[in-house]
């Protein structure tokens, strides 16, 4: 299926008659990417489902004001990243978990059999990623899983390319150390 260009989506969205059609095209193009971007942060499918809907409701409400000072999909990624961080912080406050730690609920949901069907090594890798601070986790996920360029990640997070490179390399080293630690088993 040929991917629709962002410019076409924006042009159709600006016309009230074709707005619904444009939004449908946008959903087809980005809903899975955004879903996985959020899922890798919050882990739980049901929470991700809610957040995906919230993100696209915000996209619908604000797309008319999109100023084209960034790419459309980095703008959507930014909304999704912020929603994920807000959700995780809210969850930590509800559980009285310090903000610089991972909520135990998130870790427990990793092993829910209904939504995780990876191997032991993959589970260990996901547990290693969860040890990263949230912003670093976002950087790692966008770089490693989504294979986004540093410039695009910079548009999403508002962080300089140099800081992003440094953060990613530190994250990789942490994960390497975690994976090599034979004391950590599942």
């Amino acid at each position: 299926m040929k991917q629709v260009e962002d410019a076409e989506i924006l042009q159709k969205f600006s016309d009230e008659k074709t707005r619904q059609e444009a939004f449908g095209l946008l959903l087809n193009k980005y809903q899975q990417k955004i879903y996985w971007h959020i899922r890798r942060m919050v882990i739980n499918h049901d929470d991700t489902d809610d957040l995906v809907q919230d993100v696209f409701v915000k996209v619908w409400k604000n797309l008319a004001n999109f100023r084209n000072d960034s790419q459309l999909y980095t703008w959507i990624y930014r909304i999704a990243s912020n929603e994920s961080i807000t959700f995780l912080n809210k969850q930590k406050r509800q559980n009285n978990t310090p903000l610089d730690e991972v909520s135990p609920e998130v870790v427990e949901r990793l092993v829910e059999p209904s939504y995780f069907n990876g191997t032991e090594i993959q589970l260990k890798l996901q547990r290693a990623i969860l040890t990263l601070p949230e912003k670093q986790r976002l950087i790692f996920n966008m770089k490693y899983f989504d294979e986004m360029k540093y410039e695009e990640i910079s548009e999403v997070l508002g962080t300089s390319v140099g800081a992003l490179k440094a953060s990613f390399h530190i994250a990789v080293k942490k994960i390497e150390a975690f994976m090599l630690n034979e004391d950590i088993k599942f």
Binding site: F23, G24, L27, N28, Q31, Q32, Y35, W36, R39, R40, I43, H45, D49, V52, Q53, D54, F56, V57, W60, K61, R93, Q94, N96, S114, Y115, F116, N117, G118, T119, I121, Q122, L123, L125, Q126, K143, Y144, F145, E147, K149, Y150, F168, H169, V172, K173, I175, E176, M179, L180
Partner: protein, 215 residues
Amino acid sequence: MDNNLEHNDWKDEAPHFSRLPKVNPFAVPDQYFEGLSDKICAAVFVDELKAKAGFPESEVPAGYFEQLPDEINAKITLDALQLPKQPGFTVPDGYFDRINATILEKVSQTTTPEVKVTKLWPSKLTRYAAAACLALITSFAVYLNQDKLFKPTEQVSNTAALNEDPMLWDIDEELIMEQMESGSSGITTNTSATSAELEDYIIDHYSQYEIASNL
């Protein structure tokens, strides 16, 4: 080439990790993505309905959410302590059955009688009638005592008194006037005279024949 370098430059730093296959271990329910667009469109529709209907944000007291965790923790702690529900105090049998009657009895004994309040002026008409009566009485009193209140001048009254005195009818008027004028120079005229003075006056001014003819 540059992209490959950017995406692969980390592999030297993490050789073990870099050898792991890039697999997505997370599962999603069947047909989830097929229905996701409709679900999102429905969420957008509901959100617009809320905005048009003007559903207000739920109002909560100020600081509610900041205090909520502490309140919840306090309740959890109380539950965990499993404190006994009963306070441990005892009351006599049938106490609460009797207490109502006891209180009502005491209340009826100490009830103070209602003080009857009588208005001084039951109505405006009464007030105005009283004022009219007072004015009437005052004016009647003034009318009755007007002589005392409105006394004529002393000179006029003195002249009237002189005219009415029969002893002075035979005395020359000019002489009377001279006497009066000599007494009106600021000194009050003393019209009262002793008997001896009168007798001397008559003897000096009248003959014996005149005195005898008038006796």
